[in-house]
Symmetry: C2
Subunit: 188 residues, 2 copies
């Protein structure tokens, strides 16, 4: 990918995390990057084009993070901690929430194509957590009541909710809620 395109996408993702998709404009990007709106339209003719590529970028980035966590030679408990820290980084580096949660909140505003992309990213995240949960069960470190797929769904959506809550109340609350959430996984 060309450098400028990548630069625009990465800035856009930070703006989605902080303000949401509808709340930043080509003018916002152009001021920040020091180029004109027309130049940005050269790379992404319609804003929806940028929106779709930004989703693909997030998707690829998260899959990379998940694979990195899975390939580490540590236990499921530690992999879960690594995962929780991914979100902790967002809120610590400036009032940011999960970009996917941000887009979910705008579900009825963004295009059908973007909505579908958001769903695919959610699916990837849920599959990842399900894998970690199954690993933890094998290692006798996790004990899970009910359906494992549902527990994965609960974890991913609860953390997104916790991030949103913490941003507006107290950043430090996020990790406390995350730890309270994972308490239930412990068999003792």
């Amino acid at each position: 990918m060309e450098n400028r395109k990548k630069q625009i996408i990465e800035l856009s993702i930070e703006l989605v995390k902080k303000y949401g998709y509808d709340s930043f404009s080509y003018a916002t990007l152009s001021k920040e990057l020091g180029i004109t709106k027309a130049s940005i339209h050269h790379h992404f003719q319609r804003k929806d084009d940028l929106g779709l590529e930004l989703c693909s970028y997030i998707h690829a980035h998260m899959v990379k993070e998940f694979n990195s966590i899975l390939s580490k030679k540590n236990c499921a408990k530690e992999k879960m901690k690594d995962y929780l820290n991914l979100y902790a980084k967002m809120i610590e580096t400036g009032d940011k929430i999960c970009p996917i949660a941000s887009l979910q909140a705008e579900a009825n505003v963004i295009s059908k194509e973007m909505r579908e992309e958001v769903c695919l990213i959610d699916d990837a995240e849920n599959d990842f957590i399900e894998t970690v949960l199954n690993l933890g069960i094998k290692e006798n470190d996790f004990y899970i009541k009910g359906d494992i797929k549902l527990e994965a769904l609960l974890i991913t959506s609860a953390l997104k909710g916790a991030l949103q809550y913490s941003r507006i109340h107290d950043k430090n609350k996020y990790m406390l809620i995350a730890e309270q959430l994972t308490l239930r996984l412990q068999s003792f």
Copy 2:
């Protein structure tokens, strides 16, 4: 409160739940209500005035709902079920999420005054859930690991996240996730 004002506020809340605060305009309201934008400005000079009154209205409405649940002569388990159903109604009646979650997602876009109002509403909801949890413990129906205030925070933020997830994926998922969440409260 005058009838028209109430009508504008109630419509605005439905729009916040469906699209978010920044994504509806005085034009949206005026078309729906059959009056002009100028007439709406007569009731709420600035949009932020509407935003603040809409928050107060949500606050009062939710406190009323919570008190209604608490005053019922049923057990904590059933009160929790009543609470879960409040959110279920939102998503079932047309792609809507919790208005507070919607405003949380726009935290860096709305005014400081609105942000503070949102926090107060969250506080009321958390106090309510904490009360229900303590009641359930007394009744020997709930068993809670860790801090009760944290568990309340987890429940309220997890449900908001579950609503957002379910709206974009599959409405029926919400209640399944909610039930998976409350599984942890059961001692057996």
